[in-house]
């Protein structure tokens, strides 16, 4: 009861907040997402041009069928610090891009469609959100331009470990939570939600594979479960119609079907006649995640290299100022 009063005071507008409380509880059940090693990790990391090129290839072959990338312009694909494709190749790419640009009005006052050019954004296949939702049964494939910055990992450790963990993140320059999340999302699709068995109190307990297969045990498949506190049975959230189970997604169910699988994109062959990178789901996921990190943070390479120059300048100046201060104060007890 007190909990309810606690919440009601919060604000008028937070009524929707109550609705997401359940989602929040379920989200904490989601798989613990591991941090990955990225070429752009930490204070020294930089984008790997080749990986960004492969990542763009995955975006083009798979993601672009539904998702736009409208904050990235074709010209950005040429610029330093990104995939750095040759300009001619990008011009040709833009000219043949499936999703056209609506331009105009022309001299007759009509809007017309034309192929994108270098200064045009990389559009998705839909003119607007409504068209996308109409196509996908109400779901909306969001623009991916800043997705790698719009997601993050939550801290799951003990309360007393939290300050130390924060200080460590600051000291190591950890900024890759969004990338870690996207990668986890792309590789954590499962055929069906995990199985649970109910005990006599109605609590849901993870079932072993054997129990799940045993029809007499009546295992329940839950995308997420909500534990009840006051002796009532736990709630099992079933997979919704047309939804897919994903262990990394908050709430466990996602409208997007599994986009990547082993061999779904063909990388070109290197000089040794073998593909430049393994044709596996894990590799595609890492490549496209790196690419999306670049679309969200295209100045990372410049930023970090200028950063080191700035730090060096400040460090030397600090030492000089300190020596100067020592000398100035050397005749004064203080």
């Amino acid at each position: 009861m007190r909990n309810v009063t606690m919440r009601t005071y919060l604000l008028l507008a937070a009524l929707p907040l109550l609705a997401v409380q359940a989602v929040h509880a379920a989200a904490s059940e989601a798989a613990h997402i591991e941090r990955e090693e990225w070429s752009f990790s930490g204070i020294k990391g930089r984008y790997d041009k080749n990986q960004l090129q492969r990542g763009f290839q995955v975006y083009q072959a798979v993601c672009s069928n539904c998702h736009g990338l409208s904050r990235i312009y074709f010209r950005n694909l040429v610029q330093p610090g990104g995939p750095e494709f040759p300009e001619d190749a990008v011009k040709a790419l833009a000219a043949s891009w499936a999703n056209k640009i609506t331009d105009g009005p022309d001299d007759a006052g009509k809007m017309f469609e034309r192929a994108p050019r270098l200064p045009d954004p990389i559009r998705g296949p839909f003119k607007n959100e409504q068209e996308a939702r109409a196509t996908f049964n109400g779901a909306y494939p969001p623009d991916l331009s800043v997705m790698a910055k719009a997601r993050n990992l939550e801290y799951h450790g003990s309360w007393f470990g939290h300050p130390g963990s924060m200080l460590k993140d600051i000291a190591t320059g950890y900024q890759e939570g969004g990338a870690d999340y996207i990668h986890a999302l792309l590789v954590n699709y499962k055929d069906q939600p995990p199985a649970y068995l109910r005990d006599e109190m109605g609590k849901l307990i993870s079932a072993s594979d054997a129990d799940a297969a045993d029809k007499t045990k009546k295992a329940e498949r839950c995308v997420s479960i909500v534990h009840s506190e006051d002796g009532k049975p736990d709630t099992c959230n079933k997979l919704g119609e047309g939804m897919n189970y994903n262990a990394a997604f908050p709430g466990g169910q996602i409208a997007m079907v599994q986009p990547l699988g082993d061999g779904s994109v063909t990388y070109q062959n290197g000089p040794d006649g073998k593909p430049v990178a393994p044709l596996t789901m894990d590799q595609y996921s890492r490549d496209v995640t790196a690419f999306l990190m670049w679309t969200a943070d295209p100045s990372l390479n410049t930023r970090k290299s200028i950063g080191w120059q700035v730090m060096l300048y400040l460090l030397i100046t600090t030492v000089l100022l300190y020596l100067g201060k020592k000398r100035i104060w050397s005749k004064v007890e203080h």
């Binding site: 007190r2 909990n3 009063t5 606690m6 919440r7 009601t8 005071y9 919060l10 604000l11 008028l12 507008a13 937070a14 929707p16 907040l17 609705a19 997401v20 989602v23 929040h24 989200a27 904050r71 950005n76 331009s145 800043v146 910055k149 719009a150 997601r151 993050n152 309360w159 939290h162 300050p163 993140d169 600051i170 320059g173 950890y174 900024q175 939570g177 969004g178 908050p250 969200a296 295209p298 100045s299 930023r303 970090k304 200028i306 950063g307 700035v310 730090m311 400040l314 600090t318 100022l321 300190y322 100067g324 201060k325 100035i328 104060w329 050397s330 005749k331 004064v332 007890e333 203080h334």
Partner: protein
């Protein structure tokens, strides 16, 4: 500021002509060159200068950002992305401004804690302290308004939550709260109208802060600086001229601070913000949990600790305003915690309380966080309402040195106090 006479000598005929008409150089020389600063100031006294830098940097970067920013609901988010991607060095200017807000609060909190530890609020510095609290209030308002401008999810919902707090006034006079909220919003919901006025006020308030800062420095230069012993300056030998001594120390402190500043700007510009703010504002989708920026978290924890909307608002506002009364809540005649063993303990417990409240403010409003928020809210107010008045009455302070010079030179130096007065002597 006639307190300190200036020995300024104009060096050219023009300078002399000017000095007779507007003696700015004379004043600056008196206040920022010859100005006597206690010789025992430690690095905690460098934050005043650092905060002036922070204000100036926020204004300069902010003015440039305003040249490229579009304060409309449709374009605000896009224009911030435009600044980061297409404006020359926009990624650096934007990061400098966003990180700068956090750094401003890092410095101001250390500055306030310094004041509390060394009793810098006690007579004759009450007005100086109160001006400081007003600056802090104006800073909080400016930071809150500024956080709305990128118009991401956390901007939008932060504005919604905080402006809605005023509706709690309906519990006092029905309709008053709603009236105020709608007046703030400029409509019946948080919209682009709200964003536009927030932008206008966000541009205005820094200049109000600048005005308050001038008064703050004026009051400082009338009363003179406090120092780690908390003793009054009794003789010229207790002080050194501001230039080069204090300036040299300030410069070191400032550059160490800049190292931290630059670390965030260049290596983790988005670490101090929230990922949800990279999703454009959407009135139909509420983020899973709405949290303010880190520097408001202790106050947010206090707000949520009280199981009544109006009570929470009153507690949160009181938590800031109580600082105004600190000069009269503290009954001790000794300024510095250095000589107050019990107060020193209470002070560090208070620091821990603030950090704990900050951590709790970042957690969802559920148990056990709510209980601990209530516990530390009590501890927060107990520091001001119990520790400050009571400790001054029951505590036996340690023996104070007779003067700043004595504390610096020590009694074991063999030199008679006062004889070692010359700062040039070693």
């Amino acid at each position: 500021m006639a307190h300190n006479e200036s020995s300024y000598q104009p060096k050219s005929r023009f300078a002399k002509w000017w000095d007779e008409r507007l003696p700015v150089a004379r004043m600056m020389h008196g206040q920022f060159v010859e100005f006597p600063t206690p010789r025992n100031l430690n690095y905690m006294w460098t934050f005043g200068g650092i905060l002036m830098f922070c204000l100036a940097a926020q204004i300069v970067t902010g003015v440039v950002l305003a040249m490229h920013f579009t304060p409309s609901a449709a374009e605000a988010f896009n224009s911030v992305q435009h600044i980061k991607r297409d404006v020359n060095y926009g990624w650096m200017i934007q990061a400098f401004h966003a990180v700068g807000a956090s750094m401003f609060f890092v410095a101001v909190y250390l500055h306030i804690f310094r004041g509390l530890y060394y009793g810098s609020y006690k007579a004759p510095r009450e007005v100086l302290w109160i001006l400081g609290v007003l600056i802090f209030l104006a800073m909080m308002a400016t930071a809150f308004l500024g956080y709305a401008l990128p118009w991401g999810q956390m901007s939008f919902w932060g504005v919604t939550v905080i402006t809605n707090l005023f509706s709690s006034l309906n519990e006092i006079i029905p309709g008053m709260g709603t009236g105020i909220v709608e007046w703030l919003w400029g409509g019946y919901a948080v919209t682009g109208v709200t964003l536009n006025r927030f932008f206008s006020l966000h541009y205005l308030l820094p200049f109000v802060i600048a005005g308050l800062v001038i008064l703050h420095i004026w009051a400082l230069h009338v009363a003179g600086q406090n120092n780690p012993t908390g003793l009054d300056v009794k003789a010229k030998s207790d002080t050194v001229p501001m230039y080069p001594f204090a300036i040299a120390k300030d410069a070191v402190g400032m550059f160490v601070f800049l190292l931290l500043f630059a670390w965030f700007v260049f290596f983790m510009p988005d670490y101090l913000g929230h990922a949800d703010n990279f999703t454009p504002a959407n009135p139909l989708v509420t983020p899973p949990h709405i949290v303010p920026e880190w520097y408001f978290l202790p106050f947010y924890a206090i707000l949520r600790a009280i199981p009544s909307k109006l009570g929470g608002v009153v507690a949160m506002v009181s938590a800031v305003l109580i600082l105004l009364f600190v000069p009269w809540l503290d009954t001790s005649r000794v300024r510095s915690a250095k000589y107050r063993p019990w107060y020193k303990l209470a002070f560090w417990a208070f620091v821990f309380t603030c950090v704990a409240l900050g951590w709790l403010g970042s957690k969802p409003a559920e148990q056990p966080y709510v209980f601990w928020s209530q516990f530390f809210t009590l501890a927060y107010f107990a520091f001001f309402l119990i520790a400050l008045p009571v400790l001054g009455l029951i505590e036996t302070p340690r023996t104070l040195p007779r003067s700043i010079s004595e504390s610096v030179l020590g009694s074991g130096s063999g030199m008679p106090v006062g004889a070692a007065a010359s700062p040039e002597k070693r």
